[in-house]
Amino acid sequence: MTSNVLISVSLVYVAFLFLVAFGADKWAHAGRGAWLRSPIVYTLSLSIYCTAWTFYGAVGYAARSGLEFVTIYLGPTLVMVGWWWILRKLVRIGRAQRITSVADLISSRYGKSNLLGVIVTVLAVIGTTPYIALQLQSVTLSLAVFGAEGSGAGLVTADAPATALWVAAGLAVFTVMFGTRNLDVNERHHGVVTAIAVEAVVKLVALLAVGIFVVWGLAGGPTDVARVIEASPISEWQLDSGRWVALTFLSAVAFLTLPRMFQVLVVENVDENQLATASWAFPLYLFLMSLFVVPIAAVGLARLPEGSNPDLFVLTLPLAEGRDGLAMLAFLGGFSSATSMVIVAAIALSTMVSNHIVMPLWLSLRQEGASVSGDVRNVVLIARRVSIAVVLAFGYLYYRFSGGGEALAAIGLISFAGIAQVLPAMLGGLFWRGATRVGAAVGLIAGFTIWAYALFLPSFGPALFSPEMMTHGPWGLGWLRPQALFGVEGMAPVVHALVWSMLVNAALFFLFSLVSFPTPLERLQGAQFVNVFEHSQARRGWARGAAEAEDLLIMAQRIMGGAQAQALFRAQAAEQGKSGYLPDTTPEFLERLERQLSGSVGAATAHAMVGQIVGGAAVSVEDLMAVADETQQMLEYSSQLEAKSEELARTARKLREANEKLTQLSIQKDAFLSQISHELRTPMTSIRAFSEILRDGALDGPAQHHYAGIIQDEAIRLTRLLDDLLDLSVLEAGQVTLNIQQAALGAVLDRAVASANSAGEGRVLDIRRDRAREDVTIETDTDRLAQVFINIIANARKYCDAAEPRLTIWVSKQKGGLVIDFVDNGSGIPAEAEAMVFEKFSRLTDQQKAGGAGLGLAISREIMNKLGGAIAYLPGQGGAAFRVTLPSPEG
């Protein structure tokens, strides 16, 4: 048989699968094909549990470890036989909550936490990718077997990676075509499921055919086979009880948690009564798949040449006996096993990746959010398709870089152990209302970490973990040896990793659930999950307990506010003759509560929320989302209100401040009018008096001269006042022209000190300076700056009330620029006056201390504004302190 024939047959087979899938989709769409919902199709679809690892690998496993292979199928058998316990609940929840994947289940249970969704998705991708690689390898290997046997061209054998690539690409196309045809509300893929059911039949028939051929065709009946087995090396296998128990447990767990199993078991389930049939039919399928494994292995070991790969006995035995037709069938069986697993795994993973990673990212990148629903569906489809391609590409790359062979063969159990970490969060979420998001996340991460460290990473061999590290631990820490954590030795690596990871995972999950507190949505979802049977089955009447009344109260408090909700509940309880806050949830009460709630959130939501808790009506995923959204919106709204009222308070505070300032200013203005009047009239009085005296005549020369001098002085004083007023009005109007020049700060201060000291009365001001710090070149209008300095120094001279007045001038560089502080040792400015010192015409005392009308600081402030700097009063410096800030020269 040539490889060309083989390829042709494969292609025909694939085309047939396409037709089946296409037809089933059409039938389902048209509403026909009730048989698609039959329990047999469902049971057969579960058979993707048996991958190429089963089809080829089980024989190899048996050849190496005897009967141990059977544990992989005993676990699922026990789970299925006890289906009442978990599966039915899982399926019911899956339907009620429209669950799309394991990640979705965990995320949804724990308050729709996307963090958990992401964790499980990552876990699933890491756990499944090697498994996909394993399937690609098996197809490539089986093709190679034919290539070696047959005479034909080396199309198949020449380039194994190329074959794997073609297979991967073909599977991607198939999966995209039938896995993402539409966005079914409940994520069911009739075409895919039907095609998988057909493949399940093919692989069962193929394996049974090979088994029958081996037992009756080659060995001559069961008795002979028993003798062959006894004689073969298989019978020397040792029963390792630890591995036996651990692997049975592991396979049972993996059956529940593997993404592809969840997909067919829960997501694709159309009728939970199918489980009843599957509870015995699927174990039977597994039973039949395992029945001939040991005989094939024993006969293969006896008949085929030494060194033959026992993983391929299913193919090589018929080939060696010249049964090409049977070998062909066996090849198709293996091909079916591999492809069906890859297809379903890709669908399951792509759903997770697109729902929990791509979509959240996409939505957060788009500003509008999910309001444009028409668009989103398209994006989801594209995301799924791309995800499928990426998942298969991962599988292919893993196959390429792991180099195939032994490394891959062991990956099956490793993969199981990884995905098994979901179990505590899953079962805890299903049966324990106290399980919280924090507990689930911590448990998952811890379990996953231990699994990766103790099992997954060591599987890459010395490239990652050196032999020295494996025997002595990282950095010589013996208790951290990946395969003997905390010094626990003597266990098989798989068992060791499984025990530690599951123990720590479950313990942390439990512990953190106890100490953390769930969000309201989490509590709601928890009740929904744990009490799924009460919630989803409508009953006559509302005979309910206090637990629901409490949940209702919690919800009502969130919507109506604590006091009002408690009053309502208490009144209702009193009406029923009960004390406390928890009335019986009678229909009357529920109606009343609903009406109350609808006032806040609208009738539909209120109904959905009440229904969600008491389970009166089936709650759709839309209702749930609406509840979540509206709760969210309400939270946002109330936080907005909060922000608004805060803003209001701020505004009111500002208004009060402004009002205070205005009142002050008005008083100030009156005071100024008096002041300016005084300032103008005082020199005028002298001028008028002396000019009249001069006019009267009869004065001697010196007296005349003296009086004329007084008139002149007072006239100058008037002029200065008018100058100041003019200066200020010019500065305030912004019409001032600056004369920018470079100068040393020290020089400007020198000028100011000299000028301030020369003018006016003779009080001695001790000015302290640090010349070294003043050695800075500034570029500004130095005349104006000097004016500011003069003003400050003159003020200190006038107002510093210390016995020995002292002024310290301190220059420093700060982030805002150059800072010049003027601090005197007087009593400073009282706090209540600080706000006013820079206002025009404010003079802090009634004392007529010296010239000016209180315009100096107002002018200084205007100048500093013009120069791009600032002047401020510094409180708490032990005296009056003014800080002049200049913008830094670079800026």
Binding site: W237, V245, W280, A281, V294
Partner: protein, 108 residues
């Protein structure tokens, strides 16, 4: 005398179904025991792989058979396999059953 007996008869049927479900719940436990039995002998003594295999497969098949029979028996019950054994015994299930299935207490 005939009056009071009817509810007792109806109750018995419900009761039977519950016990059936109890037995089903025990099935995986029984299966686990059967599958772990080989371990009790310990791995030290050499034994026949063929016989061991036959034992396992027989036990396995027996389990499947039992499950199939239980499901069959359950599907004959008034509620079919759709009934919910996780509901509390005194819960609404029995209420619904009794009121649906005929005269009930009024028959007295």
């Amino acid at each position: 005398m005939a009056g009071p007996r009817e509810p007792i008869f109806l109750g018995r049927e419900t009761y039977r179904r519950r016990r059936l479900i109890d037995a089903m719940r025990l099935l995986p436990v029984a299966g686990a025991l059967l599958f772990l039995l080989p371990l009790l002998g310990g791995g030290a003594t050499p034994r026949s792989t063929a016989l061991g295999g036959i034992y396992l497969f027989v036990a396995w098949f027996g389990l499947i058979l039992a499950a199939a029979l239980f499901v069959r028996a359950l599907s004959r019950a008034p509620d079919g396999v759709g009934s919910d054994p996780l509901e509390p015994e005194a819960g609404p299930v029995s209420e619904a059953d009794e009121s649906r299935d005929g005269p009930g207490p009024e028959g007295r």
